[in-house]
Symmetry: C2
Subunit: 501 residues, 2 copies
């Protein structure tokens, strides 16, 4: 293999062994430009379609993925997540595509308003697709947040063509899912250009700086997300980057719950080691009342569970080892550790404890360590807990663990945590973001670059749209969603002058 | 007056004469920090209030402004807009405050969703205020987009305390409106800290970089808006800047309308000289079918109207003169001009024409010239028009002038223009943004920094909120808007599992 050939392929690595699964081709610059040009060419016609048509496309993709043999096995070779988890994830991923299809067809995401103004004029407003979207999926969910994940599903639902970048942690699966989707789209009569997958590191900046790309969806590391966000801001026409990056998700155990923590420790150990801790919603820091040995209980639960596995890539495993060292240097002490199975990207799982007074804004202790590690700190009283929470970064999600009934602290804590996260879970764990109309998967900076948006749930479509108002336009010149006859039968707000003031 | 004292005051200039109206004090850094600290201190309690309470505050401010004598005269001394226009603007401004009060109380802006998930859990989601907002009002609308303008009204309605910067074009009015609002708020029982006005150039960056400021609303020049946007992106915790800046708003005259342009030329001349052309929605460029002398007709209408007035400040007048020179150097030719009345910030009004082939992306011809100037270019046919539109920047609004009935080109043009603007007006002019639920005042980059938002209308509140989801929380721990009894009686989406899939 010549040097050039090496540079033109992306090798898939088996995390269990560190060996190659094979390779896929890197998309050359012209290939990226071509995919973007084809997306731009069809963007207006795709965006103008009745949403039900795009819903059918999404259902066709879901069906193709559901009925394709071998996807789970391929994903397992690339991610070592295990076939059970991957089977569940695949179902989740195709459920998602169908969910976004339903949301698209229902139509309330268009935010249609049909109004007669006070001076008797007609004014109508609706959300319209932005145009081609670049999607950067995550390493940790090759199906649910991959090239056919939430960002692709919601962007297509909203009427935006998508150019997705294959993830280097699962390039073969990315390529295969891309081909499946393109074939399904073609069979459904969708125009060529509505979806493409490109591969290779250099395709990232090329996509984000392509003049025809109108928005970026990203799920992954803070370094990666912020780099794309900065690049997009330097464009002559700046575009939004919806980067879901994640930080440290806190768990607060109330004083009344401290005594029953033996009962819940098992759940916590399961939550922070789920998928080998490779969830952006992994609980990363437990704040527990002093005097209940919550760190010890969590450590015992970890030892009892004894999770063993591999991280997604050797690089992620290396970053985890380095993160563990950093936490130690910052004052964290190991309470319990379970060694990895060995080989490839094998890593240990660990519970650490730390003096709460070390939890200060800017400390490494308050930054994410991606993998199966949990930090536990004890607070003395309400004021101490309040001060610690004040040091935390914005995060995606938080848990409050209560006494189970009539806990006097639950209301205050839910309220307090709602100021710094996008989702508050009571007596439950943050991993596992249910697919729902009212879901919010997003949070204050720096857990995301766009805290007012969500990357999961019905509102995910909003990211890829902007409102346009039409004033005095004849009925036939309005988009169908705003015409008097409401031919798409979507929910609309109808406003008469009296209602305005 | 010592040097220090000079630096510590902000002199108000009468645009008619260039002479001083008096001066107001510059807020020292500690004063800015103090205003932000007070805002931060009350932010949570203000955000938690039932929206009706904040609605009452807004109505109290509106009443105080409506009943205060001398405001119009003061505004006229600072802006030379004329007492008629300022009287109408004052009414608009207090109507706006009452509109945002109504929107706040109605509650649909909370986007409340109450859901039972497929696994039987409870999930609820609503928008919550971001925290203290810094507001930078505009020079051109001292009432409607000033310290008590749309941004302040919508931020307070959404539950965010506001620190507004006095505009250097009307510092005395800004100060007086600030005092009136603070007194009205105090009488209404609002906590100190919910609203403050600061003054002086240095207060701008100090506000935007203050750690407790959560978002920025800005209306003004591209240079100013982008400077604040960049500054906000460099913060350790980046915050959104909703900058409404404006570019060149196009007017397209269809071929069928060309022949009746004599009838509409008067309306156009009125539109681009309204308020001496100092509207961000001013029509700046007319694309007319070749062969109808639309430039000449527009020029005749300008001469007939003979508008004469002053721009808001000597600096704005100087920028306008320099803009006219630039347009001439870029190939625009004067068709008609009306000299200014002389003195102070007096400027001429002008209609220019230019060869359409000079309208190329990046040309000065396609950038805003703030003031009473209109550029007219002729297109040959549909393909030529399409090509010209393809060169235009994103803009706030566009007009389509049609034959009046069954114009075959109107649908295509409305559709085409909706891709590059936030508001399309048919057979009307873009200045004058009606206050309505379905209004959209915003547009693609670089007319705004946040094309998915609006700075006027019910959706203006959305900018200052972010959604939070609550999972498994006991009813009493939920915010009132999400509790089973719906004590605030707001519209909510209730989702049962069957509806999900």
């Amino acid at each position: 293999m010549s040097d050039t050939a090496v540079h033109n392929t992306l090798v898939s690595i088996n995390p269990r062994t560190g060996e190659s699964n094979g390779a896929t081709s890197v998309t050359p610059s012209e290939g990226v430009d071509d995919a973007v040009a084809r997306a731009a060419e069809v963007a207006e016609s795709v965006g103008d379609l009745q949403p039900r048509v795009r819903a059918d496309w999404l259902r066709a993709i879901a069906h193709a993925v559901d009925t394709e043999p071998g996807l789970v096995e391929l994903a397992d070779r690339e991610t070592a997540k295990g076939t059970d988890r991957l089977t569940a994830e695949l179902t989740r991923a195709t459920d998602q595509l169908r969910f976004y299809a339903d949301v698209a067809a229902e139509g309330s995401w268009l935010g249609a308003v049909v109004e007669t103004t006070q001076v008797g004029g007609s004014l109508a407003r609706m959300r319209q697709p932005l145009g081609p979207v670049a999607v950067f999926g995550a390493s940790n969910f090759p199906f649910a947040y991959g090239v056919l994940g939430n960002d692709t599903g919601s962007a297509l639902a909203a009427g935006c063509p998508v150019v997705a970048k294959a993830h280097p942690a699962h390039p073969l699966l990315s390529e295969r899912l891309g081909r499946l989707a393109r074939e399904a789209l073609q069979r459904s009569g969708a125009p060529d250009g509505v979806f493409a997958v490109v591969a290779g590191f250099d395709t990232g900046p090329r996509l984000v700086t392509a003049p025809d790309i109108a928005a970026v969806g990203f799920t992954g590391s803070q370094a990666g997300g912020l780099a794309l966000w900065r690049l997009a801001a330097e464009r002559p026409v700046a575009i939004p980057v919806f980067a879901e990056m994640g930080t440290v998700n806190p768990v607060v155990v109330t004083p009344a719950a401290g005594a029953r923590f033996t009962d819940v420790a098992d759940g916590l150990a399961g939550a922070f080691t789920l998928g080998m801790g490779q969830y952006c919603t992994k609980p990363g820091l437990v704040l527990a009342p002093r005097g209940y040995d919550v760190a010890v209980l969590a450590g015992q639960a970890l030892l009892a569970k004894a999770p063993a596995g591999w991280l997604l890539t050797p690089a992620i495993a290396e970053a985890y080892h380095s993160g563990l060292r950093d936490l130690g240097e910052a004052g964290a002490v190991t309470v319990a550790t379970v060694p990895g199975p060995g080989g490839g990207a094998s890593v240990p799982a660990a519970v650490l404890s730390v003096d709460a007074d070390r939890l200060r804004r800017g400390s490494r202790l308050l930054e994410e360590c991606f993998g199966p590690v949990l930090l536990v700190a004890e607070y003395n009283d309400d004021a101490h807990l309040e001060a610690i929470i004040g040091e935390l970064q914005g995060a995606l999600a938080a848990s409050v663990i209560t006494s189970g009934a009539d806990d006097p602290d639950v209301s205050g804590l839910v309220r307090r945590l709602s100021r710094i996260v996008g989702r508050v879970v009571v007596d439950g764990w943050t991993p596992g973001v249910s697919l729902a109309w009212g879901q919010q998967h997003g949070g204050p900076w720096p857990s995301t670059t766009a805290p007012s948006t969500t990357s999961v749930g019905a509102a995910a479509l909003d990211r890829f749209t902007r409102p346009v108002a039409y004033e005095g336009a004849p009925d036939g010149a309005l988009p169908p969603a705003l015409r008097a006859a409401n031919p798409w039968r979507i929910p609309r707000r109808v406003v008469a002058p009296a209602a305005q003031r």
